[in-house]
Amino acid sequence: MTATITEPRAAARPAPVLHGYRFELVKLLSQWRIRLLIAACWIGPAVFVAAVSLQSSLPADTVFGRWMNATGWAGSLVVLDFSCSWALPLLTALVAGDVFAVEDRLGTWRHLLVAVRSPRRIFVAKTLASLTVILLLVAGLAASGIAGGLAAVGDHPLAGLDGHILAPAEAAGTVLLAWACALAPTLAFAAVGLLGSIALGRSPMGLLMPALLAFVLQLAQLLPLPVAVQLSLPSHAFLAWRGLFTSPAQAGPLLVGLVVSLAWAVIATALAYRLFLRRDFTDVTYDGSGRQVLVAAVLPLAALVALAVGVIAGATPATGSGIDKEKLQASLATAYAHLYRLQTRELNRPDVTEAQLRATASCDKGGSRVVDEGAGNDWRCVVSWHLPGATAVGTAIYQLDVTADGRYVADGDGPKEVNGYFQVRTPTGDAPNPLWQFDGNVDLLASTPKE
């Protein structure tokens, strides 16, 4: 017997990325969990917004919640605010946090490698497929919330977070822009999900990483951290979209938030990519390694936060908490003037302009022994305004609950005819009083206005 060697063949080419992407998408969409998520995201918000908008009790804890029965656009923003707190990190955890780990659970890495013949292409295909599903889920949340609100309440003007009125077309554009801005931190959390999925293998910790990160960051946002630290967290853009609803828009924190989020998305994806290519796929019991995760994932991201803090502190006028007496006074006076005009229209009184009102506010935090700076529910403000032709100066009192992210709720404390009661008597009957309670937002990066 003599043996001869067969004609040499070229090494098999890797599968095209498009084919791999399609396969990953088919795998994701064939999972009941993903199908349920898609159905929930495309149906749930519409049902919720439509149902809540028709109730007399509105979710006033959420920004724009108190406007849900006034305009259909508010409902989608309530959904956005809730999604930014919990839904989007959880969705990214369930999709991106599992897209690599599922192969460990099923023991299919070897099969996939033999079929695709390129770990790089597998990484690209899985990343793109998971991002596609996440985008589909976010699009569902946005579209469904908008549809539910418009169907239940209608296409009416929206009051912004400084009380200025956005016409329906402008409201539509700004709402869509706000959802688009929320995509950046969503991508950051998705990248963390990919990193967890690769670093921790079949361990449930990989799946939980985005949700865990979101929880930790939520806790951090409750703390009186310096504004440079707050803005350097990847979750800040989940809050910064609120700045779009003031005039002029609070673009500084939003831009910083978007840049930080995208930096997290890029770096976490790059770390995931490096970790994936270094993995030994012949080890079927691979379950990640604590030390490896610490060195390859946690430390670089912690370094990114430190770098961001340094850059933001050095390149912006951010100091302290970003919340001080002057900013609050300016914000409250502006919002009051805008909403006063709204109340005037409801009461069918002669219109006045903000310039004619010359509204000012005087705020104090916790009495004379407390520094007038930072978050807290012990802010007390007195708003003063003028009416054309009248010599007397009107005054109204507000208690302000200010949170560390710059949001505040102004609660009217009298007089009753102006801001002390939740309804006003209009020629057509009782209507919600826009001056009773309203939301505002302080630009954390703005320079303190001169008095």
Binding site: E7, A12, P16, K27, S30, Q31
Partner: protein, 330 residues
């Protein structure tokens, strides 16, 4: 006879940390040959199969697959298919979807659904083609894994324990497919712990122990190397059979283990001609022979002998050996 070589490995060494999985391994598998790979757990079978599939590269040595030197991972030529540690299947997809996805990835979709249907039919899964794999038994998964390999029209098929969980019908399908592929010139390398499967399918076997080849060659040569075997006889008169076996030249009676139930069988040890002589004597003395067969299959016996993975206890002593010892003591 000219044969082309599908696999040619020389001096292959592969380590995982301090563990040497393969130690200077040589292997030749010709096209059209079904080559069995056996060895105890940890012998390096899966590592070797992984190298053949391109999942890993050797630390040293030279490996040629289908005439192509393989020097880096996933660089094996087209025409290599198979699985290690069970077929990779996605339970949320149907059998057809699993195969179609693979065909798309490997760009074998020119034949479209016809190829997928043909592969499913070959392994007898046409009736469940549109069922989700989640509900498949282990045997059905094995057959679907084989169908996935068939889809790529392999020239080298690498299978790890393909008979796991197969019922008789499934086993029949798998054996028919493997022998059919070999007849068409495909080289098949399969690992198995089931010696009956290897005996039925393989023309050649390689036995591995602690990463080294302890035997490689035709099955017939391996059986010949197994030497003397234990045979179990069931007769109508066990006492007479015991006497006749003791008197047959070249045969020794293997005593029962203490506590073993006295039964109608006798176990003897010796070469085949001596066993033939015993059968003649039984018939001549009017003792009916109801059963006769090796206690351990020849291939298995050779495997146990070569790998040193017997029960761990020394071989049972025969009656004659006991008597000789007693005489020495006197």
């Amino acid at each position: 006879m000219h044969m082309t070589s599908a696999v040619r490995a020389r001096g292959i060494t592969k380590s995982f940390g301090d563990v040497v999985a393969l130690d200077g391994l040589d292997l030749d598998v010709a096209s059209g040959q079904v080559h069995g790979l056996v060895g105890p757990n940890g012998a390096g079978k899966t590592t070797l199969l992984g190298l053949l599939l391109g999942l890993a590269v050797a630390d040293s040595g030279r490996l040629e697959i289908l005439g192509t030197p393989v020097g880096r991972t996933l660089a094996v030529p087209d025409g290599v298919a198979g699985f290690v540690d069970g077929p990779g299947l996605y339970p949320s997809l149907t059998a057809r979807q699993n195969l179609s996805a693979l065909a798309s990835l490997r760009r074998y979709d020119a034949g479209g659904t016809a190829d997928v249907d043909d592969a499913l039919e070959q392994v007898g899964l046409t009736d469940v083609a549109d069922d989700r794999v989640r509900g498949f038994s282990l045997g059905m998964r094995q057959r679907l894994g084989l169908a996935a390999a068939l889809l790529t029209k392999p020239r080298l098929l690498v299978l790890d324990e393909p008979a796991n969980g197969l019922d008789p019908a499934g086993k029949h399908h798998v054996h028919r497919v493997i022998t059919g592929l070999a007849a068409d010139g495909t080289a098949v390398v399969l690992s198995s712990h089931r010696m009956d499967d290897l005996a039925a399918l393989c023309s050649d076997v390689t036995i591995l122990a602690t990463g080294r080849v302890v035997f490689s060659g035709p099955l017939s040569k391996l059986a010949a190397e197994s030497g003397e075997l234990d045979y179990r006889l069931v007769t109508s008169d066990p006492a007479e059979a015991h006497r006749l076996a003791s008197e047959t030249p070249g045969l020794r009676v293997v005593p029962r283990d203490p506590g073993q139930r006295a039964d109608a069988d006798v176990v003897v040890r010796g070469p085949v001609p001596a066993v033939d002589e015993l059968v003649v004597r039984l018939v001549r003395d009017g003792v009916a022979l109801r059963e006769l067969g090796p206690v351990v299959a020849p291939l298995e016996a050779a495997f146990l002998a070569l790998t040193g993975t017997g029960t761990g206890a020394p071989p049972a002593r025969t009656d004659q050996e006991d008597q000789a010892d007693q005489e020495d003591m006197r």
